[in-house]
Each structure stands twice: as structure tokens, then as C-alpha cells.
């Protein structure tokens, strides 16, 4: 039984369940919408100013919203202790980790797609730098958030405090990635400075933490 086949079937199962309930995606979307609206109420900005700070706002909103989805995907495995069925089976732990990460990546990607027009409308945004950099930043940044988020979600869901813990351990770890995402986005939007260093940094961050997660996930999954 290969890592890939279990990965595929787990991902398909997750997407099917999400398609039926739409719990994660709905709560995440609404949450992100609230954050955007509240931010835009709180600051009264000119087009130039919003270019300066939009990069930060987008990523903070995404980070908060992602936590909602991350908790949901693991809470689903905890109901009826389904996770134990996975733990007693010979299926590789890595498949579960990757399937959940990819699933969360897709959810956050959908969120990004829907949030972009919102930001453009609310903050009068227009990018001065090349748009492909924004796309690259959103893909790499998304992965950086969800790869750690999925790992820590699996950790926090196994503790007494459940959902409360996730942001407390995810946010500090995500700070360097967040700096790079905001850096890349802001420098592209304003057209000042180069986004290349940030993007390379994000790519390295993604690779390192994906490998680390794969390496340690079985330990965390089988911890009792």
C-alpha cells in the first residue's frame, strides 16, 4: 500500500465530506470577510497608503481564517474517535499528513481567490509590480501557513484544550514566513524593491518545514 494511494483516497474522502457539510470553507470565508470589513472600517486609507499596508492585512486575515479551517479538518477526525481507526491501520502516517495539508491548501486557495476581489474593491488596490509575483507569493505563503498549521492542528487537537492551542503555537512559528509573505506582497504592490529574496526565502521555508513535518508526523500521530 503506497503513500500516494492512501493520500489520494484520504484527500478524496476529506473533500467529499467538506463538500457535503461545507463547515470549514463557510466559517473560514465568513471569518475572513469580517476581518476585511473590520480592518477597512478601522482605517481610512488613500490608494497609496492601502498599497503599503494591504500586504500585511491580507496575510493577517488569511492567517486567522486558516486557523478556523485547520481546526475543523482535525475536529472531524476526532469525532467518534475515527483517528484511532487510522492509527491501528497499517496506512502510512505521511499520507494522512500530506492529504490534510493539501486539503487545507485547497481551502485556503479558494479563500485567497475569493478575497482578492474583495481587497481590490475595499482598498482600491492595483498592483504596480508584476502580478505573477503575487500569485507565487500566495501559493508559497499558503503552503507555509497550512503545512505548519496542519501539523500543529494534529498536535493541539490531541490535547486537553483542543482548538484553543493552535493559534498560540502556530502564530509564533509562522512569524518568519509571515514577514516574507508580507514583504513579497508589499514590494510587488508598491513596486518598490524586489520580491525575489522573499519568494526564495518562502520556498526554502516551505521545503524545510514540509520535510520536518513528514519526518515527525508519525511520532505525533502515534503519541499517546
Amino acid at each position: 500500500m503506497s503513500v500516494l494511494s492512501v493520500l489520494r483516497i484520504t484527500l478524496a474522502k476529506d473533500l467529499r465530506m467538506e463538500w457535503r457539510s461545507k463547515d470549514a470553507i463557510n466559517s473560514m470565508l465568513f471569518f475572513a470577510l469580517l476581518v476585511v470589513v473590520i480592518f477597512s472600517f478601522s482605517f481610512d486609507l488613500t490608494a497609496d497608503e492601502s498599497r503599503q499596508i494591504a500586504g500585511g492585512l491580507i496575510w493577517v486575515a488569511l492567517l486567522f481564517a486558516a486557523v478556523v479551517a485547520l481546526n475543523q479538518t482535525w475536529a472531524r477526525e476526532l469525532r467518534n474517535q475515527v483517528l484511532d481507526a487510522y492509527r491501528v491501520s497499517p496506512a502510512p502516517a505521511e499520507s494522512l499528513f500530506l492529504a490534510k495539508t493539501i486539503g487545507n491548501f485547497l481551502f485556503v486557495a479558494i479563500l485567497e481567490l475569493l478575497m482578492t476581489p474583495l481587497f481590490i474593491v475595499f482598498y482600491n488596490l492595483r498592483s504596480i509590480g508584476p502580478v505573477y509575483q503575487l500569485i507565487l507569493a500566495s501559493v508559497l505563503g499558503n503552503w507555509a501557513l497550512v503545512v505548519n498549521g496542519t501539523f500543529f492542528g494534529a498536535m493541539s487537537i490531541r490535547t486537553r484544550s483542543r482548538e484553543v492551542l493552535l493559534p498560540l503555537i502556530l502564530f509564533p512559528i509562522s512569524i518568519p514566513a509571515l514577514l516574507a509573505m508580507v514583504g513579497a506582497t508589499t514590494s510587488t504592490l508598491t513596486g518598490e524593491g524586489s520580491a525575489h529574496l522573499s519568494l526564495v526565502f518562502l520556498a526554502v521555508y516551505d521545503v524545510v518545514f514540509t520535510l520536518l513535518g513528514l519526518f515527525l508526523f508519525e511520532t505525533v500521530l502515534q503519541a499517546e
Binding site: M1, S5, V6, I9, T10, K13, R16, M17, R20, S21, R76, R79, N80, Q81, V82, D84, A85, Y86, R87, V88, S89, P90, A91, Q222, E224
Partner: protein
């Protein structure tokens, strides 16, 4: 078939969870099928717990298809056969969340026997099950035992399994305090009856 009996909190469920590899023993070692490495034994284990270990949002068939895939079984027929074995209709297009307690229990058993395990661990399979369903399940377990499977069963209703169980293991405070062989005794009983 071993019945594991004892008071609440005697460590019956914990024993099953240790055998299933969900908990590591804090002292001592565990060897299953001549192997100390639980990972190699996993394909041979079937485990049914208090909780259903099923996704409420999926149908019975979808649940079994997923769990079968975790054992590398990609044939739909396997899940369907397991459902028929426990007396459920595979065509039933209903989410498990809408199942009755008894049906869920049956499906849970179907999930545990999907991979045709050599060792079956059952934690209170008859709780909240009507007496008819319990009899069906007992019959099924009896035939599984006869086909050479080892079954460990935690229960508060040992009467249901009379004539099926081979040995009762009494636990108290995390220790096995007594073991009673039924098969052997019934065999000697028959021998005694045959004597005169």
C-alpha cells in the same frame, strides 16, 4: 475467544488499546503473533471500540471503502461483503449519522473485520444493541472463532457468549486475577457425561 471481564476501571479497555498499539505499555513488553514490532502486526488486527470510529457524514459503503483502502484493499466487494456479513444492506444510501445505534454498532463491527484480521479486539460490542442483534453478532463471532481467529472481547454481558467463549479472563485494578477455561470445562463435562 477470550472474554475479558471485570469492574469498571479495571483496565479492560486499556488492555485492548495496548494490544491494538494505541497505548504503549509503561512497563513490560508486548508480543503479538511472535512479533514485538506492532507495526508489522497492524494488518492482522481488527479493533472495535466504544466509539463507532466511523464518519457520520459518509454512508456506510463510503466509510468501509475508505477504511478498506487504509489496508490496501481497493475492491468495493470487500466492503459490501463485510456489510452483508453483519446483516446490513450495502445499497442503503444513508449517512451513518442517521443510523440507529444498533446499525452503527454492526457497521462498526464490519469495519473491524474488513481486513480479515487474525486477531479481533472488541470493546463492548453489545452495548445499546437489542437482544436480537446481539444474538446475530454472537453467531457471527462464533463462526469467526471456528475459522481460527483469535478474539478478545470486553463485555459486561458474558451470558450472551455462553457456549462460544473459550476462556474468561477476570481483571481487577489492571491485573488479571482469574482465568476460567470454558471450552476445556465443557469438554470435561461432556467426558463426564459420557462416562456412565
Amino acid at each position: 475467544m477470550y472474554l475479558i471481564l471485570g469492574e469498571n476501571g479495571a483496565g479492560k479497555s486499556t488492555l485492548l488499546r495496548v494490544i491494538a498499539g494505541l497505548i504503549h505499555p509503561s512497563h513490560g513488553k508486548l508480543a503479538i503473533l511472535d512479533s514485538g514490532d506492532l507495526k508489522t502486526v497492524r494488518p492482522q488486527l481488527g479493533y472495535m471500540a466504544h466509539a463507532s470510529m466511523l464518519y457520520d457524514e459518509l454512508s456506510g459503503r463510503e466509510n468501509l471503502a475508505y477504511f478498506a483502502a487504509l489496508y490496501g484493499i481497493r475492491v468495493q466487494a470487500t466492503g459490501d461483503r463485510a456489510m452483508r456479513t453483519v446483516g446490513l444492506d450495502p445499497e442503503l444510501d444513508r449517512r451513518v449519522g442517521q443510523y440507529s445505534q444498533g446499525m452503527r454498532q454492526r457497521l462498526s463491527l464490519a469495519r473491524a473485520i474488513l481486513n480479515d484480521p487474525r486477531i479481533l479486539l472488541l470493546d463492548e460490542p453489545f452495548s445499546n444493541v437489542d437482544i436480537g442483534s446481539a444474538r446475530d453478532m454472537t453467531r457471527l463471532l462464533g463462526s469467526m472463532r471456528d475459522s481460527g481467529k483469535t478474539i478478545f472481547l470486553v463485555t459486561h454481558q458474558p451470558a450472551l457468549l455462553e457456549g462460544v467463549a473459550d476462556e474468561s479472563v477476570y481483571m481487577s485494578a489492571g491485573r488479571i486475577v482469574e482465568r476460567v477455561q470454558h471450552r476445556a470445562s465443557s469438554a470435561t463435562l461432556q467426558a463426564a457425561e459420557a462416562q456412565p
